[in-house]
Symmetry: C2
Subunit: 195 residues, 2 copies
């Protein structure tokens, strides 16, 4: 069974994601865990300590899943394979509950916390672009894509995809539409850059 310390963090992530740091309050958090408020203080010194522990866990989760070269997707053997790979990653990122919460927390708190600010740039901009930069470089080496600057290519690919993912987060009822637009964009992108 999960330790109380971890249960607190899981529930706190939900509350911080929904209401922001200021909007989350310890009474509700304790109630959702069927604990008294003062019990929280047996595990963490303050609301801020919980906040930092939540961020630590978020960063550890990211590093474990996307942070190392071991997690790089295999270089596709065709452009259609690239399309499928991209669509799988997009679908995963808008469906995984933990990622959904993480994204929402980062978006709403990026201006109020320096650490979250850095995470926003990493998660939404440079991290994802870095992954696709390597994918595209590999595909160029295989002669599947026209020669180009892989970094620029990755940026011009991931930024539109990212904006549609944000649309899903913001307006879940338009998710199907957003995913369709994502697929259309990916196919358009491939049609332009395929060798």
């Amino acid at each position: 069974m999960e330790s109380t310390r971890e249960r607190i963090l899981d529930e706190a992530l939900i509350m911080f994601a929904e209401n922001g740091y200021r909007g989350a309050n310890l009474r509700d958090l304790a109630a959702r865990l069927s604990l008294s408020k003062s019990a929280l203080y047996k595990h963490y010194d303050s609301k801020e300590a919980i906040w930092h522990a939540v961020l630590d866990k978020m960063e550890a989760h990211y590093a474990r899943n996307f942070g190392s070269v071991d997690n790089l997707p295999p270089t596709p053997d065709s452009c259609e394979e690239l399309v499928q790979l991209s669509l799988r990653m997009i679908h995963f990122t808008v469906s995984d509950p933990h990622i959904i919460l993480t994204r929402r927390l980062i978006i709403t708190e990026q201006f109020h916390d320096e650490r979250v600010c850095r995470m926003a740039t990493k998660y939404f901009l440079e991290g994802t672009a870095g992954i696709y930069e390597k994918v595209f470089a590999g595909m160029m080496a295989k002669g599947l894509l026209k020669p180009a600057d892989p970094a620029m290519l990755a940026f011009s690919f991931t930024a539109p995809v990212s904006s549609l993912i944000h649309l899903c987060a913001r307006e879940p009822e338009r998710q199907a539409e957003a995913l369709a637009r994502a697929e259309a964009f990916v196919r358009y992108f491939v049609s332009i850059h395929a060798a």
Copy 2:
């Protein structure tokens, strides 16, 4: 001289943008206006009423500046002119104080208020893309750009630009870098799609 009613909204926009709806409080707002808290209630019924009035003003400002066909930029006569037009618009949007505040408010509150949610999609996604869609269509008609779906072209252009504008908002100390990357992207985009 500006009426107190309007001064309240201007200052409230600043505080909502900095601290969010929940984080902004009426005592500070009144103090910054050299007013007593209860004076605010002579002009607005509640904090929520101030909030809605701020959103009204934001929407009116947007409609006045970007909402009608009269505000469409003239179709460029060359690709270099498109580059210059884009860079001017980017520079304006990361420099104008009112737009900076508006952007920040929309980003941080997009999940907490339905109206702000719609504004986010409009301002960051569909509004800007709509403008460039018409610009690109005009340039295609002039034979300056290769024939393509202007909507898809506009989306694949504005989304990366928008992500760099968000980077400026989040990390102002990296603004110069972000603007340089924006120029590089715009020139890359033009080099691909010029006829």
